[in-house]
Every structure is written in structure tokens, then in C-alpha cells.
């Protein structure tokens, strides 16, 4: 179970540009739940992910993973419990290293990085098997540089790397936004398959209302660093994309109204 308690993240604190990206958010994700997160630009979606992964330090509140308080853990330490896929396919992998070297880096996540040779017969066989299930023919290109792959292929490998070792939560940061529609579908289906296979607790940020409703069992809408909508079960099942867009607009208008009130 993942719990964010009164999570607060502030950028440029104490300056005129001070920006409260997360305003004391409470969020609890039970084991095995798939949560989709939507919201406009600057709503705090990426900050929420960064707060959970440890990239954005909390100004207040705490993060609990299975009762362990990880608030003060740096990102590299939290990686033993948290895995993630970035929006930018270039960010999730090292282009100068080979496919197998990238996978080896991911295979050591959560363990001690010992000075023992990273690539032996055992690991290569494991990687080949894992890559084969992508159906992209990458299992025959273990020694190729990552930079030779297309963005979609790299994102598929990133996803594989994130799920290669167990994690308490998988964070997906608009991981299909930079891909063409065909590759985006491919990566989404792969996501679905891997999450089902491993019963992963997942938080997926997306720009697409359709994706937000199609995937997972719960949808959270963020607005100005707060949770504006949190639906699951029957209520969510009854929602269509239009309803969601309506709600989205209403939330935004409400905040505009209060601004107008302030200014008048």
C-alpha cells in the first residue's frame, strides 16, 4: 500500500515566484490498484509522481510504502521500492550503452551493485526471453546501442526495465505521449499485459481522458495541486469521456470564478 499524507511540494519557496505544486494532498493506493491521473498543465501530476519517487522533496507531510516511512529516502534509495517510466523515451534509457547493458542496469535495481561482471550467460538468457515477449525482434539485438532504436522501441524497453525487478509501485508519467498512435497503442497494451501479469500497483499520468477511463480501476483528477475528483467503482464505470470533460471544465471554471471574485 502506498500512502501520501498531507503531501506538500513548493517550488522556489520564499521568492516572489513561489509555487505550491502539491497542496497538502492525501492519497492512498491499495496494493494491486491501477490509478489513472489526469489534470491540466501545471495541475501537479508530474510533481505527484516525483514526490512518490523521491525526485521532488516534500516541504510537508510524508510518504509511506507498506508502513515504511520513506519521506527522507533519496530517489536512488526509493528505487528499490518504486520503479518508473518517463515521458521522454530518451530519458528512460542510456543511448550510449547497449540494450543488454541497459537491461543489466535495471536488473540490479533493488540489489547491491557489486563489482562482478554484469553480463553472464544467465542474465543474457533472461533478457533474451524478456525481449522476445515484446515481439519487436530485439532479442536478436542485445549488443546494439540503445541509440539505434526508435522512440517507441526505446519506450517499450524502458517499460520492460521498470518491470524487470519487483516494485511496490510502478509510476508511469505520460509514457505514451511522445509516441505515434500505433506505437502508443503498442506500449499501452504492453503496459496492460505487464501490469496484469505481475499484479502491479500502478499510478499512470495521462493527458487522454479516454485512456484515463479505459485503464485501471480508479481515476484521480488534479487541479492546482489538489485532488479535484477521485472516482472508482460504479460511479466511474458510469462516466463517459464527455462527462469527464464536463467535470474537468466545471472544476476549472469554479476556480476561475473564485479568482474573478477576488479580483472584482
Amino acid at each position: 500500500m502506498i500512502r501520501l499524507e498531507r503531501g506538500r511540494v513548493v517550488f522556489s519557496a520564499g521568492t516572489p515566484l513561489e509555487n505550491v505544486a502539491l497542496a497538502d494532498i492525501d492519497l492512498e493506493i491499495p496494493r494491486g490498484q491501477f490509478v489513472s491521473v489526469i489534470g491540466s498543465n501545471g495541475a501537479g501530476k508530474s510533481t505527484l509522481l516525483n514526490a512518490l519517487s523521491g525526485e521532488a522533496p516534500l516541504a510537508g507531510g510524508r510518504v509511506l510504502i507498506d508502513q515504511t516511512d520513506v519521506t527522507t529516502w533519496p530517489a536512488s534509495k526509493r528505487a528499490q521500492l518504486v520503479s518508473r517510466v518517463f515521458q521522454d523515451p530518451m530519458l528512460g534509457t542510456c543511448e550510449g550503452l547497449t540494450i543488454e547493458e541497459n537491461l543489466a542496469i535495471a536488473a540490479a535495481r533493488g540489489g547491491a551493485r557489486r563489482p562482478t561482471l554484469a553480463l553472464g550467460r544467465g542474465r543474457r538468457a533472461e533478457f533474451r526471453e524478456q525481449l522476445a515477449q515484446l515481439g519487436l525482434g530485439l532479442e536478436n539485438r542485445l549488443g546494439d546501442r540503445m541509440g539505434l532504436l526508435s522512440g517507441g522501441q526505446r519506450q517499450a524497453v524502458s517499460l520492460l526495465m521498470a518491470t524487470l525487478r519487483p516494485a511496490k509501485i510502478l509510476l508511469l508519467d505520460e509514457h505514451t505521449a511522445a509516441l505515434d498512435p500505433r506505437m502508443s497503442d503498442f506500449v499501452l497494451n504492453l503496459t496492460h499485459r505487464l501490469v496484469e501479469q505481475q499484479q502491479l500497483t500502478t499510478l499512470m499520468v495521462t493527458h487522454s481522458m479516454r485512456q484515463a477511463l479505459d485503464f485501471g480501476s480508479r481515476t484521480v483528477m488534479l487541479h492546482e495541486g489538489k485532488i479535484a475528483l477521485d472516482v472508482a467503482g460504479a460511479e466511474r464505470a458510469a462516466l463517459g469521456v464527455d462527462d469527464l470533460v464536463d467535470r474537468f471544465a466545471r472544476v476549472r471554471d469554479e476556480s476561475l470564478d473564485s479568482d474573478a471574485l477576488l479580483l472584482s
Binding site: A75, A79, R114, A118
Partner: protein, 303 residues
């Protein structure tokens, strides 16, 4: 070029191979432009020479020199990571401080150890002349060190270091402690450079306060030349390229100095090196400056 001159070039080229491997670790693996080496090379020479003159056996003195170099690398990394000082500036600060420290260690601007025992002395008993034994010794040492570095960079820990340099955000997301990796890599890099300085002093019989000037440029020249010629794909070939580049660079220098029709003297060396490295860096596709140079010429002026 006489045989003696060729052996001399080979010997210096091999010793500077250690510098090239060090520069490869900071510039290429860690992505950390580090000028500390201009101070850590003479630091290694100073510690080794002062140690030997102080009565320490040459092997322990060399080990001390290596440790001192590692410490210098840690200082630069500390300034950068802990206080956020730009890496280039942090390394210049350490380099500047090392000038005074090296003077303190040596007690004078130069030390002669030509009559003292060195790490090479035990091997001179085999009946080979100094001119032959030194290149062989240099070869064994630089290949040994290169093999160790290449092996390390292929381990789980070493892959973590390469990820930390190439893509720190991804590295952290995969659980690599990027700061610790930078500390270790910078220590390793400068330890190798100081090792080179310690050997250089013992092979040539002196340590001098000015011997570090331009070390970084020579090291970079070796790395770039090696990359241009071998176009290495894997880490093992990249290390081989550093050593090869260093030796070839020395031969090129020796040739330029010997060819009287060019009319160069040893003082022109730094200018020549700087020009060479600059050309390599500004040409598009600097990874292969030779090829890029040819292409430019071919597509440019009519022949």
C-alpha cells in the same frame, strides 16, 4: 627517428596512457570536464619523488602518490556535488590549490631522483638496458591498469557509474547513487593520473612544479586521437584506444620535433597540441575528426 628517440616516445606515450584512461573516465564516462589532472599529475610526481628522497621505498611512495591523486579527485567532486560549484570551475580551484601544495611537498620547484632507487630498479637486474626496460615496464603497467578499469566498467557497479554519467535521472530511477558514483569515478580518474605522474618522475629522474601544465590537453588529445582511429564500440576497445592514442600522439610529437624542415622546437609543443585538440573539438562529428576534416575539404573548395 632514431631507435633511442622511438623508445623514448613509446615510454612517455605508455605512461601518459594512464593519464588518457583517467581523462576518459572523467570526460567520457562521468561526463565531468575535469581540469584537476593538471595538478594531480605533478602531485603524483611530487609525492613519489619526495617520498623516495625521504627514504620510503619506491613502491610505497608510488602507492602514496596514487592515494594523493585520488584525494585530489575527491576534493573536486566534493566542491561540485556538495556546494554546486560548476564542475569546470571546481576543478580549476583544486588545480590552483595543488600548485601550492605540490611546492610544499617538494620543498623546492624541482627534485632530482636520478640516483635514487625507483620502481624500475629491481627490473634492471635482468641485464636489459634502461632504455628497453622502461617501455616494457610502462607497457605492462598501463595494460594492467587499463584491463582493470575496463573490467570494472563492465561490472554491475561500473555500469551504474556509466549510467550516472550518461543519464543521471535514469540512473537514480534505477537505484544508482549518482553522487557516490561521481566521487568514486573522480577519485579513480585522478588516482590514475597521479600514478602516471609518479611513474614519469621515476623514469625520467626528476619531479618539476611545471610538469603538469597542459596535462589535460595531452590526455584529451590521446582520447580523441584514439577514438578517431579505432572508432571503439565497446568499453574494452575504448580503453585500448586511449592507450593507442597516447602512444601515437607521442610519436607524432617526436616526428614533428625531429623533422627539421618544419622548424619546430620543443617550446612549440603546447601550441601544436592545443591547435590539434581544438580542430578535433570544433569539427562536426568530433568523434571522428580525421574523417570530418576530409569531408569538409572534399565538399568545399574545388580541387
Amino acid at each position: 627517428m632514431s631507435l633511442v628517440a622511438a623508445l623514448g616516445a613509446l615510454e612517455i606515450g605508455l605512461v601518459y596512457g594512464l593519464v588518457a584512461i583517467g581523462v576518459f573516465i572523467s570526460f567520457r564516462v562521468l561526463n565531468f570536464p575535469d581540469l584537476t589532472v593538471d595538478g594531480s599529475f605533478p602531485l603524483g610526481a611530487a609525492v613519489a619523488a619526495a617520498g623516495i628522497l625521504g627514504g620510503i621505498d619506491p613502491f610505497s611512495a608510488t602507492l602514496l602518490a596514487v592515494a594523493a591523486g585520488g584525494l585530489a579527485g575527491l576534493v573536486t567532486a566534493f566542491l561540485n556535488i556538495r556546494f554546486g560549484i560548476l564542475h569546470l570551475l571546481a576543478s580549476i580551484l583544486t588545480m590552483t590549490a595543488l600548485y601550492s601544495i605540490n611546492l610544499r611537498i617538494m620543498g623546492s620547484p624541482n627534485l632530482a631522483i636520478i640516483m635514487e632507487p625507483t620502481v624500475i630498479s629491481p627490473f634492471e637486474l635482468f641485464g636489459l638496458s634502461g632504455g628497453t626496460i622502461k617501455p616494457i615496464f610502462g607497457f605492462v603497467v598501463v595494460v594492467g591498469a587499463g584491463a582493470l578499469v575496463a573490467w570494472y566498467l563492465l561490472t554491475d557497479s561500473g555500469l551504474g557509474m556509466r549510467a550516472a554519467g550518461a543519464n543521471p535521472r535514469m540512473a537514480r530511477a534505477q537505484g544508482v547513487p549518482t553522487a557516490a558514483m561521481t566521487y568514486f569515478g573522480m577519485a579513480l580518474s585522478n588516482a590514475l593520473v597521479a600514478f602516471g605522474g609518479a611513474l614519469f618522475a621515476q623514469m625520467n629522474g626528476f619531479a618539476d612544479i611545471t610538469m603538469g601544465t597542459g596535462t589535460i590537453v595531452v590526455g584529451l588529445a590521446a582520447v580523441i586521437a584514439g577514438e578517431a582511429i579505432l572508432r571503439p564500440k565497446g568499453i574494452v576497445m575504448a580503453i585500448v584506444a586511449c592507450i593507442l592514442g597516447s602512444v601515437l600522439y607521442r610519436f607524432a610529437v617526436q616526428f614533428a620535433l625531429n623533422a627539421e624542415f618544419i622548424g619546430m622546437n620543443p617550446g612549440d609543443l603546447n601550441l601544436l597540441t592545443a591547435v590539434l585538440v581544438t580542430i578535433a573539438l570544433i569539427l562536426p562529428g568530433a568523434r571522428n575528426p580525421v574523417k570530418a576534416l576530409m569531408k569538409k575539404r572534399g565538399s568545399g573548395a574545388p580541387s
